[in-house]
């Protein structure tokens, strides 16, 4: 036990140390830098595997999770403790995080062209453009190679910290470190304006969620007096929180805190309506996309909300609480909404980005209807196959870049799927692994992991009678299969549509090996969670996953075992196979982006999808522009120049000039003044007054100060009466 706890404490450290080492000492030496980073990730991996193994082999593990805490702050009667905890949920998350992180680290070596020469014109902040060698152009090494490994090291540290935390505060610390790193990594090629803007957008958007989450954390702390999971998830505390009224009528403290925390997830896991940052984040290098969009950061959002499940369900007694309803609705909307957008994208990574948003929506919706285990299951399988798909797409892009360098035609976008085709022969390893990943994503029956997890969500929704969620997710699942097959067909099948695709190359072993490892998990991991009542094969393998995870919940939360039903099973078979088949049939003869079959079919709707429902434009119009205008016009010009100064004038004029104006305007011949010189004189008089407006005037400041004090007193006097 002691040793295990110590190791848990140590798991996040190696990547952090790697970060410092690389930044401080080795950033000139590429080989040493990546060795340190991969070594750090490897150590963490070993530690994680040891802990996972211990978790599997310990009896009554769920009742006695690992971990301990130290007093960090002495808050008088209740000490504030921070510590680590590994329970079934965090054990399984630690497992997949450690594997995917290590794989992504290794992959990055190849992706950033280690071993290639330095580029002739490469500049820091731009992707490498290739180097001339023996008369032809080859790929060149990334100019900020070492820096990349430092950043992903820090990122991994953030993720591990988040997973092993036993309380919301350190979890939030890890959360924010990842936020910072995602900013740095998405904007890794900061020379490109698009990357710079994407980084800013990602940071600001997630930050919106984060502030609400922070508010939720402080609120929870005020009400519960602790942030430790163990202390919050006790029967008394949960029922106390469920029955205390919050500021918002109709919501309990647990409900409000849960919703505030969930808004953090909405930002981090790119749920509707804060999803806009994730597709743009594809501007970062591909390993970053895999890291952020599959294994770590976006999963962290879902992990947090799964972690807070006892709080979300508090007071529901088996029924859906307000908080859970919010989750179910947001999750379902996101799942369907993002899937429709993915259908109309041509960029190989963007399809995956929207697919990720959609799949995260599945998990959130699953949690919203109380399908706790299914949500965790899908989280894990998705992490494997989505990391695989991202890395696979990176491999494809890399291969295409080879082709581009060969032909020298830099106008060809190596990420556009319509520029590919027929790559299965050029890049067989990439093809087969991508196929496995794609099938897992689509939920290809029986053999892929994605089938089992997605099926379980649908079965749960059906069995508990949430038919709205069930059908929404079913349609989303169909679209998932469809766009996945569209992607595979356009990329790998058929004939090469460009010269560049003809000259594409398989990528080095540092890139393909991680693909193969992840592909094994994308298939095999489904087998640990086959339901007992599944026809034919149910019960051959024990439904280990369900037992392991479900027992991790506090004992006062009960689940009813769902009974097997044919409807959801047939539905998931039909949508998966139907989607794949339709996708292949529609796209096997596709030629150019202009002639996209779906485009003809959908017409203007396609334009709408292609433009992502104009959400970016909407936010720009509704939020960004007005805020800029607000600060420019209202605060700067209006408040400062007009209101404060103008107000002073108006008050003075009103009190003192009123009498004069009245006398003059009424005593003098009214008509003559009114139609004659009067108006002109008035305008001039005003113009003169306005011209005199200036500030930096200390006495004006004083007047406002005295006025402020007077207004305060007057307001107070008014409340007295």
């Amino acid at each position: 036990m002691e040793l295990t706890n110590l190791i848990i404490w140590l798991i996040p450290l190696p990547p952090l140390l790697a970060f410092f080492f690389i930044v401080l000492f080795t950033n000139k030496n590429n080989k040493l830098s990546h060795s340190i980073a991969v070594g750090g990730a490897g150590l963490s991996f070993l530690g994680a595997m040891y802990v996972f193994y211990q978790a599997l082999t310990t009896n009554h593990f769920a009742e006695h999770p690992f971990g301990n805490a130290i007093t960090w702050l002495n808050l008088g009667d209740k000490p504030f403790e921070i510590g680590v905890m590994i329970d079934p949920l965090s054990a399984i998350v630690l497992f997949f995080v450690a594997i995917t992180v290590l794989m992504i680290f290794i992959y990055s070596i190849g992706y950033h062209n280690y071993g290639q020469p330095k580029g002739d014109h490469d500049k820091k902040g731009f992707p490498p453009h290739g180097a001339a060698q023996d008369g032809h152009t080859v790929l060149s090494i990334e100019p900020m190679y070492a820096r990349f490994f430092a950043f992903i090291g820090l990122f991994a540290f953030g993720m591990f910290t988040l997973v092993v935390s036993d309380n919301l505060l350190t979890l939030f610390v890890g959360w924010e470190i990842m936020g910072l790193c995602s900013y740095l990594l998405i904007g890794f090629w900061f020379g490109k304006d698009s990357a710079k803007n994407a980084a800013k957008k990602a940071f600001m958007t997630t930050r919106v969620g984060d502030v609400f989450m922070l508010l939720g954390i402080s609120y929870l702390f005020t009400e519960a007096g602790t942030l430790s999971f163990k202390a919050i998830f006790t029967e008394e505390m949960i029922s106390h929180l469920a029955h205390a009224d919050s500021y918002i009528p109709g919501l309990s403290v647990a409900g409000l805190a849960g919703i505030l925390l969930f808004i953090g997830t909405v930002g981090k896991s790119a749920q509707f309506p804060l999803h806009v940052w994730l597709p743009d984040a594809m501007e970062g290098p591909t390993p970053v996309s895999a890291m952020i969009h599959a294994a770590t950061m976006v999963s962290a959002g879902v992990y947090m909300v799964i972690r807070m499940f006892p709080l979300l369900q508090a007071g529901g007694h088996g029924e859906l609480t307000t908080a859970m309803t919010v989750l179910a609705v947001i999750g379902s909307i996101t799942a369907l909404f993002a899937a429709t957008i993915a259908v109309a994208q041509n960029d190989v990574k963007r399809v995956l980005a929207y697919s990720t948003i959609s799949q995260l929506g599945f998990m959130v919706a699953a949690l919203g209807i109380g399908a706790y285990v299914a949500a965790v299951f899908h989280l894990v399988t998705h992490a494997f196959f989505k990391a695989l798909l991202f890395l696979g797409s990176g491999s494809v892009i890399h291969g295409m870049e080879h082709g581009v360098l060969h032909t020298g035609n830099h106008k060809v976008d190596p990420q556009d799927m319509y520029n590919m085709g027929g790559l299965s022969k050029k890049m067989p390893k990439t093809f087969w692994t991508f196929l496995i990943g794609g099938f897992a994503l689509s939920g290809f029956p029986l053999i892929t992991a994605g089938f089992w997890s997605k099926d379980e969500i649908l079965a749960d929704a059906f069995a508990n009678g949430h038919m709205g969620v069930f059908w929404t997710l079913a349609i989303a699942a169909f679209l998932t299969a469809f766009y996945t097959m569209r992607q595979i067909t356009l990329t790998f099948l058929g004939k090469a549509r460009t010269k560049e695709a003809e000259h594409a190359h398989e990528t080095p072993a540092t890139m393909t090996t991680p693909l193969i490892v992840l592909a094994i998990f994308a298939i095999g991991f489904g087998w640990v969670g086959v339901p007992e009542h599944f026809p034919g094969i149910g019960g051959i393998l024990p439904n280990w996953f369900h037992d392991f995870i479900a027992h991790g919940l506090p004992s006062f939360i009960h689940f009813e075992t769902i009974h097997f039903s044919w409807t959801p099973l047939i539905t998931s078979l039909v949508v998966a196979l139907g989607g794949l088949l339709t996708g292949w049939l529609v796209y096997r003869n596709a030629t150019t982006a202009e002639n996209d079959p779906i485009k003809k079919l959908l017409g203007p709707v396609h334009t709408l999808l292609k433009n992502k429902y104009y959400f970016d434009e909407l936010y720009d119009k509704v939020l960004v522009k007005p805020l800029a205008v607000f600060s420019e016009k209202v605060v700067y010009e209006f408040m400062d120049r007009k209101v404060i100064d103008g107000f002073l004038h108006k008050v003075a004029e009103l009190t003192f000039s009123l009498g004069t104006i009245f006398r003059e305007k009424f005593d003098l011949p009214v008509i003559n003044e009114f139609f004659g010189d009067g108006t002109a004189a008035m305008t001039q008089w005003f113009g003169e007054k306005i011209r005199k407006i200036q500030s930096g005037n200390i006495q004006q400041y004083m007047i406002i100060a005295v006025l402020g004090a007077f207004v305060a007193l007057f307001a107070f006097w008014m409340t007295l009466n």
Binding site: L75, E176, R207, V211, E632, Y636, G696, A712, L713, F716
Partner: protein, 476 residues
């Protein structure tokens, strides 16, 4: 004996000021660098002496009630002396002030006034302490007489300060009339016993708040600060925005909590509203600034709004949050103005645009700047973040959720303009940005201390938190 030991820091500061003024007369022009070292060592020694010998013990009331010898006084003493020491470091070599004995003498005297402000337990003492702290600052703000802006800064600062302090003194006189005593601690009972109606009492409180509001640049008494911050020599600006502001808060917390318990709800509401307006005004206007000193001035108005939140909470956690926030804010803002001072000395510019390429010229300094600005923006795990967390919690605990929401929204706005500076520092380039940047050893050391301190406050908060708890325990 306790009495003398308790004001040991003040005695030391007075001696130091005398030494500085006397040595200045004897020194030749080329030896003026010595003054900087004398001032720095003097302050460091005072700091150490304070920690070692002037810790509060059993007896709290000293000097016939003039001073309180409690943890509040102790912690703020350290804050002020540290602020002064950093200011001395950044004044090194600054034209027209770095070699002037008067400047260091006034700085030390002002610090003396501040330490008395933190400890004053009597209106008479408070008045003298506030003026002893302020008047040298007026002169220091206008110290670069060759620079028109500096003279103007001193001029504006003095006029605004004199006006508000006259209003405050009027409030003091009314309080004396209502309570028949000048002892702040006896005032509460006397007021309660003397049947003073709420209206006259609130009138005097508001009059007093005008003076305090000026020190902490609270809306609508903040207007002087952008002009003065811009015009004053940058090291002085750093001192104004940190130590001077902290002194204002020390006084505000003590007077409000001790003297007016009978109308807590009233002044709480007032301060909460002013806090919301202060931070919103500060942050929104900061968005539009192009001069970094002006931007930091507005940003420090915003920070004053956050700290006011803790005061408005009027609770133990509120006081803790105020102390914690001030400690973190002191280090970050001193470092921030340190960068501005160093950069100005090299390039002669305070425009944010001219910070382009800074990261190339001095990667270390730029990295420290990133750290500092992130802490100002409230990014974990830095001190600024934890300060904000405490302040928001205090507001929520005091049932002022709306205030916390305003605070959170403001934090988002604030982050934007801090990142804008970082954008120029890291992402933009300009001609000649390959030329490296010489930084004096003492100044890099000071910045390292600030950065480490901020990180320390963000990661290992227990020691500072416990200290803040002790401060709060003298009120609750």
């Amino acid at each position: 004996m306790v009495d003398y030991l308790a004001i040991l820091p003040e005695i030391a500061l007075l001696v130091l000021a005398a030494i500085l003024l006397l040595v200045d007369i004897r020194l030749k022009e080329e030896g003026k660098d010595t003054l900087n070292w004398i001032a720095l060592f003097g302050l460091v020694i005072t700091f150490v002496l304070t920690i070692l010998l002037a810790q509060p013990g059993e007896e709290e009331v000293i000097w016939g009630g003039m001073l309180r010898h409690d943890w509040m006084a102790f912690v703020f003493r350290l804050v002020f002396i540290a602020g002064a020491a950093f200011t001395v470091v950044f004044s090194r070599g600054w034209e027209a002030i770095g070699d002037r004995g008067e400047f260091y003498g006034l700085l030390v005297l002002s610090t003396l006034g501040m330490t008395l402000m933190g400890a004053a337990g009597d209106l008479v003492m408070l008045l003298l302490a506030i003026e002893t702290a302020s008047i040298p600052l007026y002169i220091m703000a206008g110290f670069s007489t060759k620079d028109g802006k500096s003279a103007e800064a001193g001029f504006k600062y003095l006029l605004f300060g004199a006006m508000t302090s006259a209003v405050m003194m009027y409030g003091f006189s009314l309080l004396f009339g209502f309570g028949g005593t000048t002892d702040i601690y006896a005032l509460a009972d006397a007021i309660a016993a003397g049947n003073v109606p709420t209206l006259p009492l609130m009138t005097s409180i508001i009059l007093v708040l005008v003076g305090f509001g000026f020190k902490i640049s609270m809306f609508p008494f903040h207007f002087w600060s952008p002009d003065v911050y811009e015009g004053a020599p940058t090291p002085v600006t750093g001192f104004l925005s940190t130590a001077s502001k902290a002194a204002g808060f020390a006084v505000l917390v003590r007077v409000m909590l001790v003297a007016f318990p009978s109308v807590t709800v009233e002044w709480q509401t007032l301060l909460a509203i002013l806090s919301a307006i202060t931070m919103t005004v500060g942050n929104l206007v900061a968005l539009r600034q192009t001069n970094i000193k002006r931007m930091l001035a507005y940003s420090s108005i915003g920070h004053a709004g956050y700290i006011l939140m803790g005061v408005a909470a009027a609770s133990s956690l509120g006081v803790i949050s105020v102390v914690y926030y001030i400690a973190a804010y002191l280090l970050t803002n001193l470092a921030a103005f340190g960068f501005v001072a160093i950069y100005y000395k090299q390039t002669g510019s305070d425009e944010i645009e001219d910070y382009a390429g800074f990261s190339r010229r001095s990667p270390g300094l730029a990295f420290a700047m990133l750290f500092t600005f992130l802490s100002l923006g409230g990014i974990p795990p830095l001190g600024g973040f934890f300060g904000k967390l405490l302040v928001f919690s205090a507001a929520i605990q005091a049932d002022m959720v709306w205030l916390a929401v305003v605070g959170v929204l403001n934090a988002v706005i604030a982050l934007y303009y801090y990142l804008t500076v970082i954008k120029f520092v890291y992402l933009r380039r300009q001609e000649g940005d390959e030329v490296p940047f010489p930084v004096a050893k003492s100044q890099s050391l000071a910045i390292i201390i600030c950065v480490l301190g901020v990180t320390f406050l963000g990661v290992i908060m227990a020691p500072m938190f416990e200290l803040a708890q002790k401060v709060a325990s003298s009120f609750f």
